[in-house]
Subunit: 267 residues, 4 copies
Amino acid sequence: MEYSEVTFRSDMTIELIDSMGDDRSILRAMMVSTRKDRDVDAYGEDDVFGKLNFLMKNRHGTPFEHATMTFRAEVPIFVMREWHRHRIGVSYNEMSGRYTQLPPTYYIPGPDRNLVQVGKPGHYTFVPGDPETYEWLRDDMEMEAVHNYRRYEDRLAKGIAKEVARMSLGINIYTAQYFTCNPRSLMAYLSLRTKAEPFWQEWSAPDEFRSSPQQIERVFSQNPGGSMFPSFPMREIEMASEMMEDQFAAFFPHTHASFCENGRVCP
Amino acid sequence: MEYSEVTFRSDMTIELIDSMGDDRSILRAMMVSTRKDRDVDAYGEDDVFGKLNFLMKNRHGTPFEHATMTFRAEVPIFVMREWHRHRIGVSYNEMSGRYTQLPPTYYIPGPDRNLVQVGKPGHYTFVPGDPETYEWLRDDMEMEAVHNYRRYEDRLAKGIAKEVARMSLGINIYTAQYFTCNPRSLMAYLSLRTKAEPFWQEWSAPDEFRSSPQQIERVFSQNPGGSMFPSFPMREIEMASEMMEDQFAAFFPHTHASFCENGRVCP
Amino acid sequence: MEYSEVTFRSDMTIELIDSMGDDRSILRAMMVSTRKDRDVDAYGEDDVFGKLNFLMKNRHGTPFEHATMTFRAEVPIFVMREWHRHRIGVSYNEMSGRYTQLPPTYYIPGPDRNLVQVGKPGHYTFVPGDPETYEWLRDDMEMEAVHNYRRYEDRLAKGIAKEVARMSLGINIYTAQYFTCNPRSLMAYLSLRTKAEPFWQEWSAPDEFRSSPQQIERVFSQNPGGSMFPSFPMREIEMASEMMEDQFAAFFPHTHASFCENGRVCP
Amino acid sequence: MEYSEVTFRSDMTIELIDSMGDDRSILRAMMVSTRKDRDVDAYGEDDVFGKLNFLMKNRHGTPFEHATMTFRAEVPIFVMREWHRHRIGVSYNEMSGRYTQLPPTYYIPGPDRNLVQVGKPGHYTFVPGDPETYEWLRDDMEMEAVHNYRRYEDRLAKGIAKEVARMSLGINIYTAQYFTCNPRSLMAYLSLRTKAEPFWQEWSAPDEFRSSPQQIERVFSQNPGGSMFPSFPMREIEMASEMMEDQFAAFFPHTHASFCENGRVCP
């Protein structure tokens, strides 16, 4: 029997499939409360940022639900498992191991992935391992993946149903999904699935929309990473999250800037 | 003191503000399960209807969540009260009687609104009243509305807060909202908020996509109104719902046709 | 025709119908993450508070969903309208003006209800009116309610359907509902529907479970009312909310104390 | 290095941790609509079934949300993956492979598990394999599991973080969770995650509450398995679901009987 060639990846794929709306869509939904939703097109950019920032700071969240983004994601199963714990304002359709043969692609940590865990539960941090450990782990995971996929193909070749044959696949095999969310549910996701340290600076508001230095100082002094409620996400889901945040920042720049300025608290 | 002139309406306003996706967006999300989402653009129309119909008939609902519609609605408070009981896959922002003076527009039933209720709880039907009763009711409601709004303006003129002054406004005063939903949450809404009798015929699938005469016969024989689980909505929320259904049918024609062909059961 | 006597109230009714679980239910759900859920019964009270406080401070919210409270509430329609905007983790069934005649009970603000609104949108505060204004308003609302209910009964007496006859009832008529929630969805509700000023002090943790004076000082110095994200709820919904908070504090004392200690941010 | 002994299971564990309410809790929430919720204690059993059956048949779903069940479940990861796709009215907390070492227990199909898949996508059925195939598969999966867990322990022994070491664990390793739901969300789950054929007969209503023979005949003639919208769940999630259905039937007997009588359509 000829086995498929197993391929390895250390990255995630996020592709924006479709989107609806922009910063002003959120503002229109907000302004219906005072019967001024028809005026939003005439607002200047400063006003758009200012009003969105008012919503963000005071956690008036519902207007942020009137826009949408659909992503196509390719991630390993152990990332999808965390992703699917999000239930509100999110929609999923995923590749099915019952209906199709999963392709022979497995995740292997890249050399820059911290391997060693330090600290006590709830306060873990991660540090790199030594290069020998990394190489050993990489080889070990590659061999196991090859072995794992061959078992899968052997079973399929014997006529065993896909849903049974797949039962011992490793959780680092890749799967794919369509994911639809809105700015509010995406910010809830990002607040939990990014650590945010490297992002705050470059993603904060354009100069003309920035909060006062005092406000920025306040956020930073209290929250070194820029997050008022810091999270400690698994690096692999964070990699997918950062790519979604890039797209979010591109389509909803004022909303995203205000999210960062206010300590990355989902409104 | 000069009072505002009260105006009367017997209709609802539904305006499509924005939308994302079409029938093929739903199909793409579906086809990721068998890794064929990239092929959807090449499908013929028959195939699109056929696959959506498979989802609908078997109640595979999640793919219908990967598209969006935002509506602006103007309806009286007693309609909004029923609307807001829908919680899943829906987003709302409404005019606020705490932040703005509600405009002097009230709902009065039109002459074609059935006024008299026949039957027992859970099985009500409605029939027209005699013309004298209708005219009496119309005059009575108009007078009460004028009286009602003057009390409101008197209180505001005395400096009483909007949120207090509005406390005895009638539930037939108009309000407005932004409403965002997806095809699945909209079908759940429509299955409950339309009686569907007049719609099935004209909204069923184009000839080339229709189910077999046997299937149609089966739906109709069991469900005279075209609905497998008939609902008895209040006429006023149905009026708003029918306008949203028109927009839904225009943007998602195959999905809508399949919804009708399968007895208007939300997948 | 003899009309029903209209009665007036200035209060809300909240009745606990049923509940499931306590602080340890939340803890069990939490501790399954490290396979220690079977150990929870043996924990001391300090440990229970400490672990719940860890969840609260770090906004690990899901364990707070594994308990339930069902309330029966009697509130005017304008309070119910705000209440029903909460969609997640909440269940409602309400008295129906389509199926039953609403009883002749109307809300009238009590003499201690602030009547005058000061400040600009988003930053309103309320102050008392002078006694003459209050008395005028009370009389005005009482007269309008009597008038309002008589119009309703006149229409019913003419055979007009309940769902039509009720269309101009005032939003201050009382309605009733069953409301089921969990500690997490209730904290989300309370964080928005109470101002919290009078509560923090008396509801904070028992001495032996309190956070450090530094932590308390930090919350208070930044948030005079005890809330990290202060809300400005309408007083009438706050009245109902405070009664639910009393019940919540009684059944989940450590959870509630930790909620207060951490600035009333829903985890 | 001494490795842990790997154990194998072919079953699922479902344990009821706590519950709130019974059939009458649902009825009370229903009857508030006509102001008769205080009368429910005096209803006879026939009346309880009859009224719940009215709700079920007409898909008035919300009253079924005012009760709760919390389960503790032990299932393999591939079952949990399907389970967590349910988002509405459900709460989860699961054992964490980031915070604890997963125990060495793996799922192996039992000899009565159908192994071979027949039919086309969307219409699969499963039939037994021959005994040799089963034995080969069992041995193959056992060897792979032992290999799989040793790789895991080797990595942990080298100081690699749990969240990295676990990355190639098989999806048939067991995990555990707390799951909280209400009768409505549980019926939605059961309608999708059971095939229902063996259950309808024994679970249908007690004689005195049964629907007419015509109604039963109608359900069966159209739906051989007793389900109006048959599902084709993976057997392993169905095993867990059947145990939850047993508990549901014990605590909410009228609700469950009515669910079966009406074609297992979630209201």
